[in-house]
Subunit: 263 residues, 6 copies
Amino acid sequence: MRENTVKKIWARGEAVVNGWLSIPSSFAAEVMAHQGFDSLTVDMQHGVVDYQTAVTMLQAVSTTRVIPLARVPWNDPALLMKILDAGVYGVICPMINTRAQAEALVGACKYAPRGYRSWGPVRASIYGGADYGDHANEDLIVMPMIETAEAVKNIDEILRVPGIDAVYVGPSDLSLTLGCKPRLDQTDPPVVEAQQKIVEACKRHGVAAGIHNATAAYAQKMIAAGYQFVTLASDSRFMAAKATEEVAVIRKTGVKAGTLPAY
Amino acid sequence: MRENTVKKIWARGEAVVNGWLSIPSSFAAEVMAHQGFDSLTVDMQHGVVDYQTAVTMLQAVSTTRVIPLARVPWNDPALLMKILDAGVYGVICPMINTRAQAEALVGACKYAPRGYRSWGPVRASIYGGADYGDHANEDLIVMPMIETAEAVKNIDEILRVPGIDAVYVGPSDLSLTLGCKPRLDQTDPPVVEAQQKIVEACKRHGVAAGIHNATAAYAQKMIAAGYQFVTLASDSRFMAAKATEEVAVIRKTGVKAGTLPAY
Amino acid sequence: MRENTVKKIWARGEAVVNGWLSIPSSFAAEVMAHQGFDSLTVDMQHGVVDYQTAVTMLQAVSTTRVIPLARVPWNDPALLMKILDAGVYGVICPMINTRAQAEALVGACKYAPRGYRSWGPVRASIYGGADYGDHANEDLIVMPMIETAEAVKNIDEILRVPGIDAVYVGPSDLSLTLGCKPRLDQTDPPVVEAQQKIVEACKRHGVAAGIHNATAAYAQKMIAAGYQFVTLASDSRFMAAKATEEVAVIRKTGVKAGTLPAY
Amino acid sequence: MRENTVKKIWARGEAVVNGWLSIPSSFAAEVMAHQGFDSLTVDMQHGVVDYQTAVTMLQAVSTTRVIPLARVPWNDPALLMKILDAGVYGVICPMINTRAQAEALVGACKYAPRGYRSWGPVRASIYGGADYGDHANEDLIVMPMIETAEAVKNIDEILRVPGIDAVYVGPSDLSLTLGCKPRLDQTDPPVVEAQQKIVEACKRHGVAAGIHNATAAYAQKMIAAGYQFVTLASDSRFMAAKATEEVAVIRKTGVKAGTLPAY
Amino acid sequence: MRENTVKKIWARGEAVVNGWLSIPSSFAAEVMAHQGFDSLTVDMQHGVVDYQTAVTMLQAVSTTRVIPLARVPWNDPALLMKILDAGVYGVICPMINTRAQAEALVGACKYAPRGYRSWGPVRASIYGGADYGDHANEDLIVMPMIETAEAVKNIDEILRVPGIDAVYVGPSDLSLTLGCKPRLDQTDPPVVEAQQKIVEACKRHGVAAGIHNATAAYAQKMIAAGYQFVTLASDSRFMAAKATEEVAVIRKTGVKAGTLPAY
Amino acid sequence: MRENTVKKIWARGEAVVNGWLSIPSSFAAEVMAHQGFDSLTVDMQHGVVDYQTAVTMLQAVSTTRVIPLARVPWNDPALLMKILDAGVYGVICPMINTRAQAEALVGACKYAPRGYRSWGPVRASIYGGADYGDHANEDLIVMPMIETAEAVKNIDEILRVPGIDAVYVGPSDLSLTLGCKPRLDQTDPPVVEAQQKIVEACKRHGVAAGIHNATAAYAQKMIAAGYQFVTLASDSRFMAAKATEEVAVIRKTGVKAGTLPAY
């Protein structure tokens, strides 16, 4: 089976630089796959991406060595199994707040006897290789999101569930449930503390900690704090940010046409 | 009919800041429509965009006041008429090198008796309004590309064709035909001179000059030189550029995870 | 945040005229958005529309001031949150029969602390505006369907759930569960009585009542009965009805060609 | 080969009632295929329909006995051959003004030795049957549009080209080239006269005459005048017309909610 | 209502030959519909097919007399009802292991009072006919998958649920839960025995037994064993198998070009 | 630039085994890319594939080392340049019958000064590499189809055009123009002779000869005759052939269910 290099980076004690795909386009995904990320996550929750488009985006990522991941919309076996069959090497699942939810998640991602994932890796075995079935339970990453006050409270319970390789912090939802404004790159103390607690719990349990960031600057701080999976903004945020910057350059000097007589 | 504000900006002697859409996605287009551009051009030539997708992109642009334009793949009446019917307020047409080509282009964009555009503004009259037919010949922009040595030689012939509102310089093709490397933001003297000749000819003929730029910095120079329609890079270039910048920030400091014991 | 004019109409004590989108096409949606409706509902339950297509339809509706709504296929947080993120200003949710179901529905539509909607209004904040997060809990409409005998029995329990702005009557399912034939514009006494009970309960609880109608004539009666949200047939029903009418005109006079000798 | 019933109707001296598909949706096409038309034409010129979507629409039409036709965007062999391969039983081609254009059109639609259509009826032989190749030259309909003053002048020249089965009048373009306002159901004398001339010429040459109509009432007059192929409005026009009618019914009586106290 | 010939074949004591659609393409589906199958199942679970594409595939199947079925991704009312509305004549549902799951499945597929399927057969009544609602509960097939050790244990409980017409064996998942390697055309004794138990139970309960096979040879054995619904491989497996065979023929003799001097 | 291994195989005097993609699906394309072909050609002429879908198919092929090619619908610069920009490593162009047509074809595929291809390899430079522009004129394959009696007559004229790397024989069209029935794997003497003449001319001019075959058996004969590029049937033909074979196996033994009492 094709190697899951995300796990290898983690094993070396290093951090994975993850990109985020919200634009429903295999072309945008392919462009993103050439910008130096270790992995790319198709966001099927808040991104504007449905399954049928996601498949073409995964194919586009597969033209490179970048590891394809997906965030599913919810902890739902239908969605989890279908995107695993499409060949992702890991799933990020929102709103895992209890041990029972974590167990259901892991179960949906593992073939019997470890879980109840249904057999049929139609594209996954093309991407991963003919021996996909022998290694999938071991190699694919299951990554619940820790993004509520409740989940932070239950963090040890959750991390004790066998088969959880990493967790992913959603700072905006975490903020909301802690009574703060929803945003990334948080500096509000309750959120900062929760983020710290999570990474510490991960270290205790030998699980990688991941987090979504708005900027590389904040992501660096998170790496320094022990996070081993940092997402940088997203495809559409990058596009918008650069467009805004460039338009601002033009606008600030005015757009009067030059010295020649006007049309 | 909804006003074509591009023409209004030109009439004030100012320059239009144009964005460029290469990603086949109405979501990407809608995001771009909120970044401050005056107009957005769906690139059906070198962009990864076909007609059916282009329509959804034009709808996305139409959620704002940004003026929708398209570059067609070639000087072909089928393509020109079909995208005009979809509601663009102007077309950019590649490789117009002779007066006859310019006349064919204008003819395809104007209803009889000024041309041979076929009647059927199915979406255009939704976007433009019920009186679209009364104003289309006057209000829609026809913008041949001047992008070869031959076109530069024939520039006065071409600009004399009634119905040409502006021209658009493709610096890469212009470079190739002048024996230079294809690139934007040119500094090679033969291309710089040609770009200067074109804008001067436009001024003589009362036609707006447009040009594709890689950066806002170069676009500013072009405005200073008299260009009144400047494109800044493109959606996918913006996305790639920002992604590269941010990944580089992380990579240059290493991605070793922090001081806590590694997973 | 862009105003939710549906709520404003209700506040004036008037009725909203709603259109219904079953055809999976952004062009059809845009045409419908120009026919005078106050709101348009993308039907993701019985309509032939999936999420990816629905987004383009919402964009098409957003080219106008018509308020975009969606009916989700089921009371499922994944579906509810994803279409809210896509920018609808209200959701209609089928088969809400108990207080617990109503609470789950409201919870999925409200950010913490009022509910458990996950943060990420990727398109919604483009459509609604940058302050979307400050107003979404208040401004977006949650509209459970009351369409079974059980729901009618539990109507007061359901309407007591905070956050329910309106209910929507599905006459066909209501008919089935009351032992009648499934159809719109009902005259069967059990259904007529249930429809009356529902609107009365709504008045008691200060909640708007909505209903699906086959014809404007019946919708008028419903408005007279106190309904404040009336849907008229659907895009495909309109198309089919008019086509049938016109074909019938031709067919009834025969289609023999005229007095000239036949081909 | 499956019978081309359009030709059979013509042979009986009767008129074909044709529907028009502008909405890019196989569902809309299937609904239209159940409204009683003899044939349905996918409009790839002014309709919002590209090839890939057109194929699914043709499949939808093929679920019934309605004969599938297409209008191509232009007299271009690539477009003509590709949609013939997709299984249409006839093509309508815009802007045929001269004998040479008519010959080029026929040539693109006929296999050697009668023309230069390239072999590869990939879907056409599924729809038509295994013996498609033996009958295609004979059974498929070639229908140039007569829609300019020039075409009317050259009508006999055009109709003399072997292989032309029918012509199709585009009243809007005909109006424009005759100095009238572009519209259907014309009453302006120059257009009415031209329409009459065309049908008379068709009778002389044993060719069926077709025309696009806004209403069944006008279509009846055209049938009485000898036209044997009448199109009624279009899918999107039907939808918009009926929606407008129904909304008007509601609006004219006001939309004040009923006698119960308002929400 | 159009007859469900699958039920008729079963009533004659014969076996249905079923094809399997994993490729998300209405063209591939139409080609498959001409290869002699009695029914075709769109695989929305492990196939690369989402709802929006599935609709076009069902339309393609509907161009023939082949009966359209679907396998849903999971026992979820939203998915079941939506694909039934799209016009399938039966659903295969994975992982039905208990009586309660079977009851939920049947309930989602039957209109009140037999179940809680919501009314709105938007395409189903086009495909099935205007009287669809009168016969749907009786004529549509509900086919739970028996594919785990637990389901085999509970087989009588499951088959006792009224409204179950058939079961479908997924040999790969059955293998996994019985401690064997996941594959079709099993010869491992535990799986072979389970397959035998299932068909026997079906006979006891008057329910048809179905099974997925890799080859016609194995399917024949299953028919001999009493199975009355046999699937043969799938569209993509057929394509891959034949491609591999043909490439192997070429490769085994080398691909050296002929005796003429090489290019 | 990524190597064009098709040219390398030719240089070794060996034959390329080419697969053919008619199904508009990136999944089908990816499956085909794993069956052992040297190259895969997206058929945009007779295949059911348009540009937007073709891009996703090319991405799917790019997940492997198989070389992506396309057949364009016609000798049209818009189509040729657009698919080259999408990253194909060669184009097959139908109906090249004269030297002038061949020159136009080559011109559209080469950047100035060798031709008039417009610069903008938006996806091609992602697939090929950053130095794509330096090598494209040299490395991309231009492959006119020789498929008419006229083309055979003009074969030396055509092959003399600089920039033609190979020709591709379309046996069906060749058959038609030689008065034979259109089919592959021809044995009719006039076609067999023409096929022989073509390969001999190719050898004289140092150009590779290619041909479309129905079976590997015939392809082997063509290789023996000197052809260096042999296509085997197509994706949909493979699928249909295997399906037919397997269904026949079942049907010939009957589909009576086994010895247990029937349902």
